[in-house]
Amino acid sequence: MGFAQWCSLVALLAAATICWQLRELLIQLFAAVVLCVALTGLVSGIEQSLKIKRWQALFMALGLIILLVTLLVSQLVPPFIEQFKELLDQLPKAATYLTGLGDNYFIKMGQKTNLNLGGGVKPILGFVGNIGAAALQSLFVLAVTVMLAAQPKSYYQVAVSLAPSFYRKKFALVLDRCGLALKSWMFGVLLSSICVGLLAFFGLSLLGVKLTIANGILAGLLNVIPNVGPTIGTIFPMAVAVLESPWKAAAVLALYIIIQNLESYVITPSVMHHQLRLLPGLTLAAQVGFTLIFGPLGLILALPMAVCFQVLIRDLLINDLLDGWKRPLGA
């Protein structure tokens, strides 16, 4: 190995270290890229169907999304807060009812909390700080998304020009494939989320549980995160149902298990392109791995990242490197 090669090895190591240090920022950038792919899909759809200019389509798409999000939030948040308050009121009662020895314990707890008010402030402040940081992060992601969507071509050119010259055509192709895979994955998830949300809505209204619309929307949203999301999504309607009667909670649990199985064995296989279907074990492994590396945002983005990595590994590693790797003649 000559000096140039050693230099590039050192530079590569330094770049890897810096990337590792900045992994939280990189995952936010990836989130922005995923959102941007969705946004550009919508924008080009509007552009082609209405025959208007790109920036007009961009503004239209942004307006549409803002409208949709405000609608969702106004539909979701107020009933949830109300219900949550009720739940918090009911929870101690339920606990006393269940355990039967709660009285003393709760009085003790009350005394403790009174004494520890000063100590309790710190977690509250930390919590507020966390919310602030999360708000800043999402603001950053949104800003980068809009910036990327405003001129995607120039970013694409920059990315391609960073590859070696003999590889640029292939690299551009791989980037296109990644974008296509992300787009079709998002389309499939959108369809299956709508199905799951509708199923949850109808099931809950059949059972006569309160807050059917909000719970249906929640189930649809959490369907984006496999395994973990539906589990979290079950908690809230069950809690609501417990307030009415225990058997209803069991019925809700059964309903959600049925919906979950329907989603993973009937809906997803029929809407998702077969190349994008990940093996269930691989999905879970990706979720755990990305959560450990990137934190909570990694859990949310585990599936899109796995879809991208799948394309990259198939095209770059397997097709170009491993398939052409013959046994060395001397060995």
Binding site: L22, G118, I124, M147, Y155, V158, F166
Partner: protein
Amino acid sequence: MNRPSQAFNWPALLGSIALLGLGILAWELRWVLLVLFGAIVMAVALDVPVQILIRRLRLKRPQALLVVLVLLCFLGWELGTMLLPDLLEQIKTLNQLLPILIQKLFLLTGEINGLQDLQIALKSLNSISNLQKLQPFGSQLLGLAGGAVNSSLQIILMTLLAILLCLDPPSHTRLIISSSPRFYRQHVKRLLGECRAALGGWLAGMTISASLVFLVTWAGLAWLKVPLALLSGMICGALTFVPTIGPTVATLVPAAVALLISPLLSLQVIIMRLIIQNAEAFLITPILLKHTVNLLPTVALMAQLSLGALLGLPGVLLALPTIVVLQVLLEEIFVKEIMDRWTLKAYLPARNKVEK
């Protein structure tokens, strides 16, 4: 693999180990490097008017630098005497207004039911921990004072270095050129020239745009009859050099001051700042920097956050000049020298060699 002497190149290995050591040393001394880079940026900023003077008035470099420094000091002094009494008064009123502002914010948060608990908690925190926390607070204050001394020392060091660098740029350039391999020297010379041009263009463009922002903000705030208009205008102008993050932070000052008078006025101020900021970012700056630097907005934002995460606040402040220089170097060395020339023909023989 037939000849061991060719397979293992000891000088190359030693050289790269030395390079690694240098890299680690540079990382440990990153504060010094940051100050040095700040000094270089400052020197380039000084060099732009100095070169104009040299060309127009046919002065020698030290004389021209002296003229520029004296002019700068004079301008600063004039501005100071003109604005300082006003400014001092405004800062005094700001100090008086701050407690009222905090109270007003408390009132506003009190109206939102959910936050009342937090408010009570904060009050209890104040009453309980005043005595206990006095000591750490004292040490914190000392730390703050130490930090202020440290940063002012760094700024003085940076200014001195900048003046020294600006006094004799050719010999410093020669030093850098002679420390590169001989076959690469011509190229390094060209690269240095390009970096300097990009940095100078960026600085000149941003200075114009910052002064425009300062004037417009000042005028707008004075028109809206917001107190502390001058101070807010200066802060907004100065923070224009830190795109995206700076103007957003700078908007908080006039908005908070306006909140004291009425929420409506605060809203007006925020809308005005939004218009100015967007006009600056999407109209003025692109026109001014059209021929010198072409930075994509996401690249600038990412650079700020990355350097902030790696180097702290000074990193954020110096992020844009750094990325301007880095972009030139990356484009010239990484893309044009390495990636553009890396064809399959150059790659295949190496692979064959390994296979043999």
